[in-house]
Amino acid sequence: MSEEKTTHFGYKTVATEQKQAMVADVFHSVAAKYDLMNDLMSFGVHRLWKRITIDMSGVRPGDQVLDLAGGTGDLTKKFARIVGPQGKVVLADINSSMLNVGRDRLTDQGYVGNIEYVQANAECLPFEDNSFDVITIAFGLRNVTDKDAALRSMTRVLKPGGRLLVLEFSKPTNPLMSKAYDLYSFTALPFMGKLVTNDSESYKYLAESIRMHPDQETLKSMMENAGLVRCSFHNMTSGVVALHRGIKP
């Protein structure tokens, strides 16, 4: 009998082919309250992290942008305003519930015309080579089973000179912050999750998956291995979150 390939789902070890379905269940469960939970959990600071991501992307009018794992559309909305009628933003997510919440919300707010929606897997993106000026993946890479494959796929669909921005939880740089953060995320987060979405397991997964995610330097070298150059990262909120950027040569 051949050994079954395994990966991590939070702290649990699961068969590689199971992870995608387990992550899907988490996001089907939390989609409706996702935005509210983000505001509560981060005290609203996620808005600032996202604004910095937009600023660092160097996006310009007329650009083609891929907002990957874009979920409920926070970044897409801001990008759509900047790229204007000549540009395009593709909001892609593997999860149909998240994509539906995003589409309904953006359409209700009048964002139509330069936004398209695609259900896709980051590991094998369904786009032509050299399609995008900017790709962002905000709080999404952590949930992807094969991160190296996803980074290679993103590099493939970027235009030469195009930028990839990865916004993701990372490793706190200061020990005191690290302690407080551990206490907060393993006790307060599942509790809030239970109150708001009646689903503490999904928020336990969130806390665990953050700890299992590659740290700043590791992710930077993964991006270099995928073929990106001038890779760098910026810690935000003492490294609770890091913004990585790489350029396709």
Partner: protein, 71 residues
Amino acid sequence: MDKQLLSMLVCPLCKGKLKYEKDAQELLCTFDGLAFPLRDGVPVMLEGEARRMSEEEKLEKAQKAAKEQAE
């Protein structure tokens, strides 16, 4: 379906061009024999959600595409 988006989309497996079937609301990859559905106008580009075409359908669609290209 948006023309510009259609021109950007390829099969996630072989990265080949797709054929848009308006009536069936599907995007076909005759090479892999997969029909990716459009749900509420959103292309679902996941192998696991795609319909597998029969050998006959694959052949028929490939011939049709070749003929269209020749014309």
